[in-house]
Amino acid sequence: MQTLVDRIKQADQKAYRELYDMFNIPMYNICLRMMNQPEDALDVLQETFIKVFQNIQQLNNGQLLPAWIKKICINTALSELDKKQKLQFDDLNDESVLYSLNSEDGVIDEFEHESNMAEIMNAIELLPERYRIVFTLYAIEDYSHEEIAQMLGIVASTSRSQYLRGKQKLLEIIKKNKQHVRSIKTIYTTA
């Protein structure tokens, strides 16, 4: 990784291509999850790589390259979202959302097949933007609430409450979808 960084610093065009090939797919998927629209995701991806190529001289430790690129990608996406509509993260009461989270276990037990992951992703796309951002950053990108709070300019407790709200909403959506599928299956079996 350090060699790659050094080659890019020496403006080796092949190294640019190698870096792109290495990171374009994970970064594109992050962009998709953050922006929720393929066109917007491509804009953010392009902006991300331009920033990476322009600022790679500042990166001294090559081992930090994946985390560094990911951080640039997320910050770019957040600033794009902020441009489109001001993100607002209200501080919610955690107690109000905890009641239904016991049902989480039942839902997850049913995730036995890989296709269920796709159901989760579809449900995430249906979440309101403020929940979706926090949920994506915490559950998928594996950032802590403190890190998310720093990125979004909020306090950690707000990040936590937004995540719990989002999670509750997500489970509701998944349950509804499952009930819908079951009812369709019942209709087909009875018929």
Binding site: Y16, Y20, D21, A139, I140
Partner: protein, 280 residues
Amino acid sequence: MSDRLKQYIQQHKHIIDNKVPPSDFFDQIMIEEKGKLHINMPKKHSAKFNFHYLWIAASICILIVFIFSLNIEENGTDQTLSLVSEKSLLPQEQKEIVEDNVKANEIVLGNETKAIAEKTMQIQSNKQVNKKGRTLRAKTIIQQEIIENPNNIEFANQLSDDHMDPEIAVLNEPIITQSNIKTDDAEPLIKINEVPQNGNITQLSSSEPIVSVADHSNQSYTIGKAIFKGIMKLISKKSSEWTSDVLKIESKELNQKTFIAVNYKSETVAFHKSISIPIQ
């Protein structure tokens, strides 16, 4: 990672990272942002117009306009007057007012000129009287010193009309013109008819240049002061207004002596000093 949902997502994350951007996306990035990236690519000789010469031409034009505007500022009043007189773009009423003002100014100027001319005449007559008086006094001092110091006999001979070396006389010629010079001396220091006390000294004519020879230390101090004043006066003015008659220093070597003459002229004071230094 106590969160079971998060745990499940993290375990199966590889499944969801399956979307791929368009295959030519890298080329798009490189083409669109080529200028920003500064990648080492073989430089092509572009046939773009070279703006370098255009910048030079533009800066020269700006400089010319700036100099021209400066000239306009200096000749501002003249140009305003010429505009008033030459161009009849002003309305009739304004034109009449301007003409009346010009006439009034002409009358005032005429009166002032007359008054200045009278004053100048008066000053000139006073100056002539003062000069004669000062000349006589100066010569008397010189003669006294020459008598007291036998070494200066040679120089005393040079000071007489008959034996004055023409080159030294040139040095001693006063550059002071009589016009516009004011002096505080209302009366001459020594009247023309006054006879010096040492009667055996040759009487010098009043048309002789002012040459005062005191002891060298005093004289050099006076000359130094005059040079300093002259330099300060020159510095206080714009370089374009510097003239040689404000401060004129000349030196000549003659008869084993160096003669240094200083002419200093200001608006209120003007004088001429010279000093001789024996060549060792």
